[in-house]
Assembly symmetry: C2
Homo-oligomer: 227 residues x 2
């Protein structure tokens, strides 16, 4: 039995981009899991993990031999080595190495522009108990108020789409980020669009191959990420 | 027998970044090759390939059954499928797909900032017959004169290094771009630094993991890229 601790928002939303990487990896591996929503401001309920961030995965029967893994990248590595006979996330050592390069690029280059674009919408949909904590920490990161971010949407949208241009070009050459078939690399990039999709009423992508690809990812695993 | 057509500069320099991807891929596959320098302004000598750009690889005995492949990415794909028993460039389909993502990112995001930084130095070292052609085409691409690029070196250097930040972060986590061992992903990124190394007397990288990694790539295959 696998348990996934992850951020929970209003109306039972699951909105952490990092937990979406884990969710898609679990479905890719054909593993069922039980989700436990966690408030961003409540670190006590996840203290058992030894850390302060979700996602956290616990895998086991509760018999004292459970594996507890924290951090979406480490969880993906864990799933790949623990379930080698299920469909592969990385396709071997080189695939894993280059996928980590993509992971670092997405985290360092794409997350912040996307945050700047959707942060005010996200704020309206986090757990009410997290609203204050969320505003305070995000305004610090972005160095502006949530209200200011609303007036700069067009600028943020154009910056985000400029940064995504290499991925548009890539998807003219191959149907998935990982090539002919989807793999963990796809879920990494998808996670930032799913974050926006779950938490914002606005379309964040200009028309193009990337938008078509996002729809294909939404169709994967029985339309898992659509629901 | 493999023949490689590639740009040749002064003093027998081989300076095309794309041909360095091919050179490293050939050495990785433990294949010997014969290099034919081509002038940038001379399209006639490569017309046999059906295109106007190098690198071009011809593989065969000249018996009418030769393979002619153009474009560094296509050459890498060709070598991987033609020589499956030699060390792998991609490590399988997913590795190949994600490596193509890196390839597109390097070409679309890194080549231009590097060009802006070294273009005047490159101009001094191309084949004298190419000087005029090179200046004209590069000034068009960069929308400024070669002389202007010299006055903007600091700005170009800072822009390049900012764009490289995710790769610095990656190389704190793993020794090679492709993970635990070098592969084609490493040669793609290396090619832009080798271009600078062959054509410019200036160091283009700030101190950090990326500079250390570049030295490790230079040591590969018996120090092949150092000489």
């Amino acid at each position: 039995m696998i348990t996934l601790w992850e951020l929970g928002g209003r109306d039972d939303r699951r909105y952490s981009l990092f937990s979406w990487r884990t969710r898609m990896a679990l479905r890719h591996k054909r593993l069922d899991f039980h989700s436990i929503p966690v408030r961003m401001s409540d670190k006590a309920v996840i203290a058992f993990s030894g850390g302060k961030t979700v996602p956290i995965v616990k895998d086991g029967e509760g018999d004292g031999n459970d594996f507890v893994v924290r951090d979406s990248w480490k969880i993906a590595e864990y799933l790949e080595s623990r379930y080698p006979d299920a469909p592969t996330l990385f396709g071997g050592a080189i695939g894993q190495g280059v996928t980590q390069a993509l992971n670092v690029w997405v985290d360092r280059v794409l997350v912040l522009p996307m945050l700047a674009l959707i942060v005010a919408d996200v704020h309206e949909r986090v757990d009410p108990a997290d609203e204050h904590y969320f505003r305070e920490s995000m305004e610090k990161v972005l160095k502006m108020t949530l209200e200011e971010t609303r007036t700069r949407r067009a600028e943020a949208m154009s910056k985000l789409n400029r940064t995504l241009e290499p991925m548009q070009a890539l998807l003219k050459r191959q149907p998935w980020i990982a090539g002919a078939q989807p793999a963990y690399a796809d879920y990494i990039l998808f996670s930032i669009f799913q974050w926006a999709r779950v938490m914002s009423p606005h379309e964040v992508l200009e028309e193009g191959p990337l938008r078509d690809w996002r729809e294909r990812v939404l169709d994967l695993h029985g339309g898992f990420a659509r629901s």
